[in-house]
Symmetry: C2
Subunit: 358 residues, 2 copies
């Protein structure tokens, strides 16, 4: 794939990500699971998860990995077109709720023992709070149905800011970097990105998001069609696609994927918007997908297509359609369990159990 990696800073990230994950560590972790006092492979997907993490972390014994959820919020020009059941001001209101600790993701992050880092990537009105990281690219994106959502420079600035944040967290010891999103209108932006990058038909990737009715769904499909017609994005230029159709929070999350992958983190995806951001990252640096884990599959029709495009199978399928990183937070205990089993279980030999299942 040809990507315009000459864009500032990206080339070095892409180069670092292109280093393959460690197949030796994967094989050693598989051998370690196989030696445990249980039938081979009997922990199914959990063993696949643990061996993938070993390959990403480049060690057969990854230990326990501290987790952080980066929850990026942004507003969307699309929202002016009635594509959501909620008005745009809800993005900022939810940002304030995250800061106050009362949202679903606050509860779920606490339950999972994960750090929650809330980022203002560009909501309409800034919310001043010490717990919100201001990485504002602008006061909401422009209306992509008539022209680019943002400039190429803004897209690169957002990617760079997200990547720097991921590297900062990795330097602080974070091993699992989970993504979360908040932005009224952002499933429309995600759908538009997918139509251009997978590619896919607009009506195949537009869903009800957090709950639009039939008319709203028709407006979403129409908005995506108009955005494609107005911008004529080139799939071979993923940064250009992101600038034309994306959102500020999605662009920051693309950067978090790239920075996390470059820093050797396990990048844990959430729902459809984070999936679209990850797809952009994988189109910029294909090897980034090897560092990603899909926490869940949402009912949003585009989500299954994105995960297939990334070559990922979801851990959970619980009908979640909230976003915020909620599905990622719910999958964190599975990540923790896979690693704990690798670390703490006795082998057949240690336990004195007959290993007849070789």
């Amino acid at each position: 794939m040809t990507t315009r990696t000459a864009d500032t800073g990206l080339a070095e990230l892409v180069e670092r990500i292109s280093r393959p994950v460690d197949e030796g560590a994967r094989a050693a972790a598989r051998a370690s699971y196989d030696a445990k006092a249980k039938p081979r492979g009997s922990l199914g997907t959990l063993e696949d998860l643990g061996t993938r993490i070993a390959a990403i972390r480049r060690t057969a014994s990854p230990g326990r990995l501290p987790a952080a959820i980066v929850l990026a919020a942004g507003d969307h020009g699309y929202a002016r077109g009635g594509v959501s059941a909620y008005p745009p001001e809800v993005t900022g209101q939810m940002l304030a709720t995250f800061a106050a600790g009362g949202a679903a993701i606050n509860v779920l992050a606490r339950e999972a023992g994960a750090r929650l880092l809330v980022v203002d990537a560009g909501v309409l009105e800034p919310v001043a709070h010490p717990s919100i990281r201001p990485l504002r690219i602008g006061p909401g994106t422009a209306d992509a149905t008539v022209g680019p959502a943002m400039s190429r420079e803004q897209a690169l600035e957002a990617i760079s800011a997200g990547a720097a944040l991921a590297e900062e967290l990795a330097a602080e010891g974070v091993g699992v970097l989970a993504l979360g999103d908040m932005g009224i209108g952002n499933t429309t932006a995600a759908a538009a990105l997918c139509t251009a990058l997978l590619p896919a038909a607009p009506d195949a990737v537009c869903g009800r998001g957090t709950g639009v009715d039939d008319d709203g769904l028709a407006r979403k499909v129409d908005a995506v069609r108009r955005a494609l017609a107005a911008n004529r994005p080139d799939a071979a230029d993923p940064v250009g696609v992101l600038a034309a159709l994306g959102g500020f929070e999605l662009a920051v999350l693309t950067g978090v994927c790239l920075g996390g992958a470059a820093a050797g983190c396990v990048v844990l995806l959430d729902g459809f918007p984070t999936g679209a951001a990850a797809l952009v990252a994988a189109r910029i640096a294909p090897a980034a997908a090897e560092r990603m884990v899909a926490s869940h599959r949402s009912p949003e029709p585009g989500h299954a297509l994105v995960l297939a495009g990334l070559g990922l199978r979801p851990l959970l399928d619980l009908g979640l359609r909230l976003g915020e990183g909620s599905g990622a937070a719910l999958a964190l205990p599975l990540v923790g369990a896979a690693l704990a089993l690798l670390e703490d279980m006795a082998t057949f030999g240690e336990a004195g159990v007959t290993d007849a299942g070789r």
Copy 2:
């Protein structure tokens, strides 16, 4: 359905379980989720789980519920017929491993913050250890392919012991009672119970368990056919079916289901053997199924049929085929999350978020 509830002690349990779960509490919990600062229903299955638990616990605010995993082990006459990849002595070896803390379930119970109670329901050779609860019905069951696996009195004794254990745990504050099983040969016993109770064809409910080859699978199907022919069980008499075809650990787990349901616990199932034990419980006391939650679906073909027979949809689908309560332990964080959201999330009003999604 006619059941022989005149059997000692069972009638009173069945009577207690027949009290319907609390639909008022379910509706109030639903209203509580709907008032939270998130689109209605956007947490999908998690909200259904929380409202079910509210109905079972008879309160819209169940709070956090302490969990215990009852892991019952027993040996099976079936195992003498080469139906497992492992020899019978592995049951006792694993019981010792549970006591020593090195098995998968020890790790997973610790991760989930759940108490683990290991029960010897009748392994061939007893394992003396202070952490093992001896509820031995006998030194392994008889060979069900030539006659009853146990006497009716033994089946009732096992049910009674399991029910008493569940009531003891409930009295100590346990709100979620998870089931786990260990017993070489017990997926054959589970398959036999399902053929009689669902009913189903032997080859539709026999699978590879922890890993038998094609010949072993053929021997399983044959063993189930011979057990049905030798015992000619009557589905209208579930205790009789259990005695004819079951295992000691499965009979104890049937009792745990009944005692747990009677005591108002959420009964969390694990894989196929615990599902079969739960099916027996539901045939004895149909309303017991309303108190059950299916933690996961295993690749064992009978498991999906059992869950359908119980009217339950699994939370996880991770290819788990270990048993021990491992799937139940992995689902406990989802139970905890559903309850934490109900308890801790802010409402639209508290958060000052526009509730346009009514």
